[in-house]
Symmetry: C3
Subunit: 340 residues, 3 copies
């Protein structure tokens, strides 16, 4: 969908710098963009690439505009503008072509909106309700009494077990499993008795869940994922976890059962938390943190042993690298190694 730089500036409310008539038909990286592609600068680490870019234009903050050798869109939040521009230029604006593939198996008493698409080999269970313009891709299994809000899209091979409730405009990637049993067993003698997992899962609007991520149903009450939560791939969400709105987690995180996470938290990759914790709003956990205690104060936490305030963790981790030297040779040799 080719357009001009001026048109983009108008549409996305940016100041323009340079020729508004240039044609923009795609996005590109600072290094790879061709003269009709628009790029962006959001991370200052890429300023060097900005200076030599051959992009048609670059979306950037005002403070960087003088470093840009090509026309620019000046924005307060260039990455957000980029996201919208990329969507505008590249996402086909076709109306979803509603249909039900002949190999799909839809229970007689399921309600499927006429505007939704049910792809090959999908299965929709009894009592399920599929909203307007929903896309159920190939091989998805939608269990009994599942409800899916309008415009939600399931990639191929998503499994929603019985009773799971999904909001509007969600995106679930391939291999997501929502509603498997929580891991609950009572110890008796030397074996284990299964504790029935009777709760459900309630997922809000605008939630995205990555490939092969698993979300367990609650034991008695529900597992809850609030609006706007974004989960990456291969994440485990235990039974009765509650994730507050707009919290994001990168891949390979694991949250054990009954932990309650606040709003707007950010989890780097491979962060794990034990169960029954409470994590306040606006907590940030860096890559590969281990959360063993509740967090009551917003801020940034780090630590593979057990999280601490990030600066203190970093200082201690740096000292760890000198521990052997310290013990063998005393403090004298320490600073050098720390500096390495």
């Amino acid at each position: 969908m080719p357009t001009t730089l001026g048109e983009l500036a108008d549409r996305f409310d940016c100041k323009i710098r340079g020729n508004p008539e240039i044609i923009i038909d795609s996005v590109g990286t600072l290094l790879g963009a061709t003269p009709n592609a628009i790029s962006f600068l959001s991370n200052p680490a890429y300023i060097k690439q900005l200076k030599t870019t051959r992009a048609g234009a670059v979306i950037l903050e005002e403070r960087h505009q003088d470093l840009c050798p090509v026309p620019a869109l000046v924005a307060i939040n260039p990455y957000a503008v980029y996201a919208r521009v990329a969507d505008f230029l590249h996402t086909p604006k076709v109306v979803i072509d509603p249909y039900i593939h002949p190999t799909a198996c839809i229970s007689e008493d399921a309600k499927v909106a006429d505007s939704s698409r049910i792809s090959a080999h999908a299965v929709i269970g009894p009592g399920a309700e599929i909203g307007e313009s929903v896309v159920i891709s190939e091989g998805c299994i939608v269990g009994a009494k599942v409800t899916i809000g309008s415009k939600t899209r399931l990639a191929p091979h998503v499994v929603l077990m019985s009773g799971v409730e999904v909001g509007k405009r969600c995106i679930f990637h391939s291999g997501v499993v929502c509603g498997s049993d929580g891991f609950g067993f009572a110890h008796e003698d030397e074996s284990w008795i299964k504790v029935p997992q009777l709760g459900g899962i309630v997922i809000g609007d605008d939630v995205e869940i990555g490939a092969n991520t698993t979300v367990d149903r609650g034991t008695i009450e529900n597992t809850v994922i609030e609006d706007g939560v974004k989960l990456d791939n291969l994440i485990q969400i235990g039974h009765n976890v509650h994730i507050g709105a707009h919290t994001v987690m990168a891949a390979l995180c694991g949250i054990a059962g009954s932990t309650v996470i606040g709003k707007r938290c950010m989890f780097g990759g491979a962060v794990v938390a034990v169960g029954h914790l409470t994590i306040c709003d606006d907590a940030v956990f860096t890559f590969h943190s281990t959360i063993l205690k509740s967090i009551t104060e917003p801020g940034t936490y780090s630590g593979a042993l057990s999280v601490d305030k990030s600066p203190r963790w970093r200082r201690n981790a740096a000292r760890f690298k000198t521990l052997d030297s310290l013990i063998r040779f005393g403090r004298g040799t320490l600073e050098k190694e720390t500096d390495e």
Copy 2:
């Protein structure tokens, strides 16, 4: 399936405290239970909730009975009794409705018991043997010569590759893959030659495997999972691992090839073990432990660097949090920070 408290006491062999005539029709949490629901107290951390519960009754230990404001079932192991009560009240006792969905593809020489259920888009390979009252859910792939014992249930999208043997009363959740090739390659020059993975997998009775967990087939001999093992979601079991009876693992654990694990072990979430180890019976590993050496003595182990006896690990990890202060300022400031 409504009943009375007295009926539950009789059926599950508990002492009763309070009115045996009250009607119980469901289970609930201490906080959320309504007057016809029964709850339980197993973790003393919830005593505060017990004191204000509005449940119809609570299952608890004798030592807690005087704290309970409502009728109670008194039991030695309240959680086990709860598991049975919840199953009794909530699990439909219908006989499985045996059928073969018309979209299922069943090899001509597979043996499928008449009492089993084969759901939509399932595939059963040549020579497979499916026992009595087995449930094969939507989209499951059961490879050639797989055997499945009676009453085992596969959730949607389970894959059992050729030759996998599964016992009775097992539950495999969605996305489980059993029988993928182990990760075996011989280094030659700068590339890798695939080592054929010729072994199988033998899984005992009463095993539960969580969503998207993977179990690799053996290289020459079998990967073995004994009776009563419970594996949570997103766990990796490498080739030729042997897991002893009644061992449990929470989500995101990984056991590398040829490690032999004893009976009744307990692995918290995200515990990882290198290959070729031997872990004795009754070893317990806390959350996010790293097992780099064989364990010869029952007990509780912890440690993200390399497991140690848990109390020692905890003391060292607490000291780690003060390492920088120690080195900078000497021991004087240490205790304060440790106490934090």
Copy 3:
């Protein structure tokens, strides 16, 4: 496919020790092999088993031949020879029986080579190109414009999203998802705007990807996996990661977005790397390492906090186990505990 030891020696260019006429019909472990099975010794830890083996023959290095109580094939790289012998003895040499299962859904304008096999419930999207002798197993979803090189095999339930390019002779195990969206969101106010993931994935020849592993598509440019890479189960490869030829990763690794990994690297299990790093050729990371910085020098690295050269990591980790004693009692008690 029974043969003689002499025939194996000839075919795989080994020296023979003992009777070349003995019949070999299978492979076995040193402990379990029967008199017509051939075993191997590659890891000296198993020398004790060699001495009592009842195998028909053993593949081993010259330096171990005098320890072997049975005939032997002497080779420089016994494990590589074993891999070839096992393949020769056990892998059926039948030509793939090409067919298209009647339940498969193949888009009219997909190109499927006549020699390929498309199994039950597989779906091939518009514009896809499936090469010669490709095996697409049950329930695989091959998206629009995907290309798959000759002799590649997809196990059941593999998902390749639109535009993914796969080379020749690859093996993808069950549950692999390639081409799910990268995890890209722009922060605005307190919520997140999805950044369209417009790049693809390019996978070279002879790549093996383990069960339930996920590979995300690039944001603008491609995610790239070069020839001969081997990825184990439950690995996450983020958007725009580039993995150099013949690099291997054991299970549960995670590589965050835009990290570039060199050739011939080796990642033990559960190694995680943050994004935007550069890792040079021939770097080795031991089990459960955490990579937080770029690696510029080949060598072996370890460390759950942040990788270090392995010997230094090991010394420091050993000292960690004595940290509490050190602080409480001074250096005197240290050595004893370290030795434990």
